[in-house]
């Protein structure tokens, strides 16, 4: 064994200069980034990966890895990735965004990328709220959940129920697209889902989307145990695993 150093507990592709990170204590996104790094290491794709990040807490990862990272605008990591991938087809292109970027301001780009089967991977972090701005209601906020803009709990009859992004995207995505949901509550499964998604981009030249349920202790105002308790509740509302197509398959061929 090598003499332990500060990078001992880090994926190899992680940029140690970004540590200590800009993320809050207990941040779920940091867990996701670490596992993304682990997959990049195990798939041996560090030298061909490009990460496009959105606005929201994902912007804090602007120097997180030792591969190219470009910070885009809110909801725009998908179109930047699409343009980049068209120009550099051999790269593994990953767009990282939050649920606000993916399902509110950037939804039409996400849908159209899936519809066209653009060969990029969209990773969407779902922590049921807007975190960077201090915990406002998102499409993914679950019924009765309290946020700063749903102080009495989200009223589903006015604001809609829990927004199921992968299930929606699946309806119009190409049949070759890989669409799944993972959770920071199960990092091993998260690794295998991210791996499948990246392989789908590389081997099938197809669109992939992985939503990852995550925790936000700062805005949820929860400690470690409470954070994972709420996450377990979310996993019941938002089922983890690959999302299969439910529409008649023929409709795609018309």
């Amino acid at each position: 064994m090598k003499t332990p150093n500060e990078q001992f507990a880090m994926p190899q592709c992680l940029n140690s200069k970004s540590k200590p990170s800009l993320f809050c204590p207990g941040c779920g996104e940091s867990i996701i980034l670490k596992h993304l790094g682990n997959v990049v290491d195990s798939e041996n794709i560090q030298s061909k990966t490009t990460l496009v990040i959105d606005i929201g807490c994902t912007l804090l990862s602007w120097n997180y890895f030792n591969f190219d990272i470009i910070q885009s605008h809110h909801g725009r990591s998908v179109p930047v990735s699409v343009g980049y991938k068209m120009a550099r087809g051999s790269r593994v292109v990953i767009a990282l965004m939050g649920d606000g970027g993916a399902y509110a301001i950037g939804l039409q780009s996400l849908l159209h990328a899936a519809f066209r089967n653009d060969p990029i991977l969209a990773i969407v972090i779902n922590n049921t709220e807007y975190s960077m701005t201090g915990g406002q209601m998102a499409p993914t906020t679950v019924p009765n959940e309290v946020t700063t803009t749903s102080p009495l709990g989200k009223n589903a009859s006015i604001f809609g129920p829990a927004f199921h992004g992968p299930e929606l995207v699946r309806q119009i995505a190409n049949s070759k697209a890989f669409i799944a949901r993972a959770s920071v509550g199960n990092p091993t499964l998260m690794d295998s889902i991210i791996t499948k998604a990246i392989e789908n981009q590389q081997k099938n030249n197809s669109f992939s989307m992985v939503e990852i349920l995550s925790i936000c202790p700062t805005n949820w105002k929860t400690d470690a145990a409470e954070s994972f308790e709420f996450l377990a509740k979310l996993e019941k509302i938002y089922p983890v695993g690959e999302v299969k197509k439910t529409l008649d398959k023929k409709s795609e061929d018309i």
Binding site: S21, V184, P217
Partner: protein, 274 residues
């Protein structure tokens, strides 16, 4: 520029309660019939960078939220010094936490340095969460001469919800407040910064495995402790980057399941087989 304005900078790590005491201090000054201005420093991060607040008070209207040089600077963590050092002038009174910051951490030549070992006192006597109350009480007494009871009333009102949930916290907070209000600030002999973030790795070994903990990355979230299936982890004495305790590992209890590594958001812990 009016010279009857008193300008204060409060700084520490995110999550340390800097903004909480800034709000309390502002309210206290409002109650004392001053015109007050308070603004936190804003970046895109919620917690990842030092937390800073700017307070001004005066007998007349204050017009602008920021200033160049402070009359009083309070700084509770080493990492925050860099962020606020430019606000310290030759006449600025500086109050710092001598248990987390050593004298030599200040690069400037300022003789008006005063200290209270807030973190040490909190860790050893009053509970870790009360370090900001200790600092606030010392600041209010020594630099503003704010009446003791009036200040406590505002603290009790502002932290009422927290205190209602946790009665013992309330009791400890009052003890910390009383102690710090009457504490004679250190002005020459600063104690060693024994609660400073540890720069060195913690390595624990036995014949089967090696555990490594990196305090300067650890933010004390406690997720590794929660996820350890055999209770081999618990908070220890060493402090991490935010001045929160870093976990300790009982290496013989550990079964090397990998959960702590898998769940740690900050790449601060890992156990491997020998």
């Amino acid at each position: 520029m009016k010279n009857d304005v008193t300008k204060i900078v409060l700084a520490g790590e995110g999550g340390q309660g800097i903004q909480t005491i800034a709000k309390i201090l502002s309210l206290a000054l409002v109650k004392a019939d001053y015109f007050v201005s308070y603004i936190p420093q804003f970046g895109p991060e919620q917690r990842g960078t030092p937390s800073v607040s700017f307070i001004q008070f005066s007998k007349s209207q204050i017009t602008y939220p920021k200033f160049d040089t402070a009359d009083i600077v309070m700084v509770l963590r080493r990492r925050a010094i860099k962020t606020i050092e430019s606000y310290i002038g030759s006449k600025t009174d500086v109050l710092f936490d001598s248990s987390t910051i050593a004298r030599q951490n200040f690069t400037l030549n300022n003789s008006r340095l005063f200290a209270i070992p807030a973190t040490k006192l909190a860790e050893e006597e009053f509970g870790a969460k009360n370090q900001n109350i200790l600092a606030l009480a010392a600041l209010a007494k020594n630099f503003l001469d704010y009446p003791k009871n009036a200040l406590w009333e505002i603290i009790a009102e502002q932290l009422g919800k927290k205190f209602a949930k946790n009665k013992s916290l309330a009791g400890k907070a009052k003890e910390a407040f009383d102690f710090a209000y009457d504490f004679s600030l250190e002005s020459k002999k600063f104690t060693k910064a024994e609660y400073d973030t540890s720069d060195s790795l913690i390595v624990k070994k036995n014949s089967q495995r090696v555990a490594v903990i990196v305090p300067k990355y650890c933010k004390g979230c406690g997720i590794c402790i929660l996820k350890c299936p055999v209770n081999a982890l618990s908070f220890g004495k060493t402090l991490g980057v935010y001045g929160t305790p870093v976990p300790e590992i009982d290496i013989d209890k550990c079964i090397n399941c990998g959960n702590c590594y898998r769940f740690c958001p900050d790449c601060a812990i890992r156990v491997v087989k020998k």
